[in-house]
Symmetry: C2
Subunit: 258 residues, 2 copies
């Protein structure tokens, strides 16, 4: 099993490390700059390339872990797609982006947030797969099963919703952790104080639906507390606007006004 | 150590169970309705009362785990405060709410989200304490140390900020998990798919600051993805407004525009 990685960012790094752990050989890492290609290639004992005309022709899998806008620019510049399976890892790009270039292709979308230098247990990360044809799907599902216990067949249009849901479940909550951190910093309090609360909030939705798990002043629109909070945010109209919008959302969802 | 609980909601239940685990005797549970008083009293082998004139006079601690608006109504109706230590568990009520009624008083605010029927390991939950005088503070800190490893002395004005930060770190992220759940349900996808992502988002801020941990299309204001997401939200202007506001917040925080 020989793999070529196109891309050397957070997603590529996490997936390349997972490949190594599974004994797949990474032949090459392509990136636009030699610095980033070499940095990842070194970690996984692969060749670093920056010139697409140097792409290996005989890899089994070409895994494109590139930003959406970059993916299209790279594909158009590939001189020879060979006979390998071309995959991308994007939540929002349709599979059809490969159609003009190569017959055997698909999507291999890991539903996770990846940061450099973090360890990942891929065996529990959902992998959403899509393939150009039935025999490719069979291959892809077999391969995906070597990565994780959670393989989900999903078409491009459904995957876009999942990607949007992931933004609401990950990127936005993380931003709100940051707002909380900024508020504590103003008072000289350490962010660590909030960690048991953040952990429990995430843990609880393993057992209850988010709707059942909801607590806080907005559930019953407790004006007494909400007005005090808005007073504290008087100097931060952006945070106050967010506070009001989220509180209204919680209240509507719980009072059944929606 | 004899304790009287005033209140029988989520916070009271979690704290009463923690008292039992620590071998403190719960003498009475007061609530406005016999149903809720009896329900908690039965769990912790206490007497249920609904009439404040039946309050025990010789308890060591009176722990008020009541909604803010209810706390003031209850205090004004207590006929005799005795010599015990009166505490409330609220993030947003000042300690001074007790001043007209009793000399020895304080605050015992656990920074956690409590739901009925969930087990809690109190030993890792921060307890923010405040006391009417130095000798009461000494007692209170000793007692708090039997609950948790994390005892933090905090005045009422600082505690209000912590409570506000907790709303941003817990209530609002949980609401966004719910928005994600609703989006998945539209496409017949199970919410469980998001759990590894939610867990990792919470785990990551143990290691990195939320700012460093931020991922997603808004960090670099990726118009390509953001416009696709807003298309998917065309039928939900409330969600689209939230999406735009949160994305702008992330972008501003990361581009240093603020």
């Amino acid at each position: 099993m020989k793999i070529v990685f196109l891309g050397a960012g957070n997603v590529a790094e996490a997936m390349a490390v997972a490949c190594q752990e599974r004994g797949f050989l990474i032949e090459q890492v392509y990136s636009r700059t030699m610095e980033s290609a070499a940095s990842l290639a070194k970690k996984v004992a692969a060749e670093a390339i920056v010139d697409l005309s140097c792409l290996s022709r005989d890899a089994d899998v070409y895994l494109c872990a590139l930003k959406d806008a970059v993916l299209e620019r790279v594909l158009v510049a590939v001189p020879d797609f060979g006979t390998g399976l071309w995959l991308h890892t994007s939540g929002s790009m349709p599979m059809s982006v490969f159609e003009p270039y190569t017959k055997r292709h698909g999507v291999f979308y890991p539903l996770q947030t990846f940061s450099k230098g973090c360890p990942y247990d891929f065996s529990t990360i959902p992998l959403c797969v899509e393939a150009s044809d039935a025999s490719t799907m069979t291959c892809l599902k077999e391969w995906a099963a070597r990565w994780t216990k959670v393989v989900v067949e999903m078409d491009s249009s459904t995957r876009r919703y999942l990607h949007l849901a992931a933004v609401f479940a990950c990127n936005f909550p993380n931003y709100l952790y940051g707002v909380a951190a900024d508020l504590l910093q103003q008072k000289g309090l350490p962010f660590d104080l909030l960690l048991p609360l953040i952990d429990e909030t995430a843990r609880k939705v393993h057992e209850k639906s988010p709707h059942e798990a909801q607590t806080g002043p907005a559930v019953r629109m407790d004006k007494n507390i909400i007005d005090k909070h808005l007073d504290l945010l008087a100097a931060r109209p952006d945070m106050a606007q967010l506070y009001v919008l989220l509180s209204q959302g919680i209240y509507k969802r719980h009072s059944g006004v929606e």
